[in-house]
């Protein structure tokens, strides 16, 4: 019983960690989306230079462990740019976001390429510019096709946020570890935290599934990708 009372005391502390974790997830996914989508477009519609720059970017960020990227940015790049005072949380968002952009761009690229050439042809035949055709015809379809794959980014990013412990972001795992050190209670805390992650994972996937249902169109995109 003592354990439960102790744990209850710590709930507000852990809750702040939970908020940081959620903040990391949402901010990283958003950064990944904001950069990933234009990168996908660049890789398909861009010139040779743009295409190769993006390919190298994707290769780099997909080829490195999260922890190496975190160390590189937190101890290396940011201090070199005289930005040592940038909080770890921001560094983490930058790293997870830029890395997410690499993964997301490939999801979007696959989705865009799965759309038949005829859609662009028909749009252009009506007098749409290339940009209008992409904006009003290609993207609305591609985003729907990409959604299931994109949804899988959520659990990946969620579990990756725990690695931000390595640079001292005050997220859930960091706080749990501190709590373990203070209370000498280990297994119950770790297992409870694991439960929280699994719950977050489940809730997020449920929400994304609902979004998929809500944006689905009869007979469209089924079985694609």
């Amino acid at each position: 019983m003592d354990i439960i009372i102790i744990l209850l005391d710590w709930i507000p502390y852990l809750f702040l960690g939970l908020l940081q974790t959620l903040g990391l997830v949402l901010a990283s996914l958003a950064v990944g989306l904001i950069f990933g989508l234009p990168m996908a477009l660049g890789q398909i519609y861009g010139n040779r230079l743009i295409k190769s720059v993006i390919s190298v970017y994707v290769w780099f960020f997909r080829g490195l462990p999260v922890i190496v990227l975190l160390f590189l940015f937190f101890f290396g790049i940011f201090p070199s740019l005289n930005m040592s005072s940038v909080p770890p949380f921001v560094v983490a968002v930058v790293v997870l976001g830029l890395r997410g952009a690499a993964y997301q761009s490939q999801i979007f690229r696959g989705a865009i390429q799965s759309i038949s050439e005829g859609q662009m042809t028909a749009a252009r035949s009506l007098g749409m510019t290339r940009f209008q055709a992409i904006r009003h015809v290609i993207l609305p379809q591609a985003l729907r096709i990409a959604l299931p794959g994109w949804s899988n980014e959520y659990p990946t990013v969620l579990t990756d946020t725990a690695i931000c412990y390595a640079i001292g972001v005050q997220e859930l795992l960091t706080r749990a570890t501190y709590m373990v050190a203070q209370t000498y209670i280990t297994m119950p805390i770790y297992l409870a935290i694991a439960g929280v992650y699994i719950l977050l994972n489940y809730a997020g996937m449920k929400a994304l599934n609902m979004l998929e249902k809500k944006t689905s169109i009869p007979g469209f995109g089924q079985g694609a990708l």
């Binding site: 462990p65 070199s80 297992l191």
Partner: protein, 218 residues
């Protein structure tokens, strides 16, 4: 200190030792991750409810729990119930859990995609259910699961870096220790990045060759 001297006399030797540990981690975890993955997938697909349900829970737990937390549980948590693991062993076990759970998903998907007629045809030849799975279904399924499993192998290379968080000094850890001591972070992590990019790129090329080799004409 001269960067060249730092590189050649301090960093590279340290990283080499770390790289050996990284490769040992991967080489130990990968085979068990594959075997356990096959076991979990077969159990989930063909086992009774008493087998498939716990396995489903196992996969859900491993996929939902951050790998780093899993490593903490194995290394910092288990001693509280009297189980002490070395950092290396705790890491390997964590990687096997993780690798097997994800592999099992790919293999299960592949098992389900093998046409029903294959099982019927095998049993018509007098094979038992187990023999049919072992000699007819699995060989087909594993081939189809190769792209997913090679992907997981590449993840294993990258996530092996987390072993450092429970004090197993592998590639990333070795570099971090040197970088902290000499305060040369950019140089150190650029070299580490090159090593990982090399490992991942070589593995990707090898994986593509493997996929081609085992591709079944459709």
């Amino acid at each position: 200190m001269d960067t060249f001297v730092f590189l050649t006399t301090i960093l590279l030797p340290a990283l080499f030792d770390g790289l050996i540990v990284t490769l040992e981690l991967i080489a130990t975890a990968a085979p068990f991750g594959l075997l356990a993955g096959i076991g979990v997938a077969v159990g989930r697909t063909y086992g009774s409810r008493w087998i498939s349900l716990p396995l489903r829970g196992y996969v859900a737990f491993i996929k939902g729990c951050p790998l780093l937390l899993l490593l903490f549980i194995l290394y910092f948590g288990l001693p509280s119930i009297g189980i002490r693991l070395s950092p290396f062993l705790a890491s390997v076990i964590g990687f096997i859990f993780c690798n097997s759970a994800y592999n099992s998903e790919y293999i299960r998907g592949a098992l389900l995609s093998v046409k029903e007629g294959q099982m019927i045809a095998a049993q018509a030849l007098g094979m038992s259910r187990w023999q049919s799975i072992r000699y007819i279904i699995l060989p087909q399924a594993l081939r189809r699961a190769i792209p997913g499993m090679t992907n997981e192998f590449i993840y294993l290379i990258k996530y092996s870096s987390l072993a450092f968080m429970i004090t197993a000094v592998e590639l990333t850890g070795a570099g971090k220790l040197v970088a902290t001591k000499y305060f040369l972070f950019n140089e150190t992590f650029v070299v580490i990045a090159i090593v990982y990019l090399f490992l991942v790129t070589v593995t990707t090329v090898a994986a593509n060759m493997l996929e081609k080799k085992f591709a079944v004409p459709t």
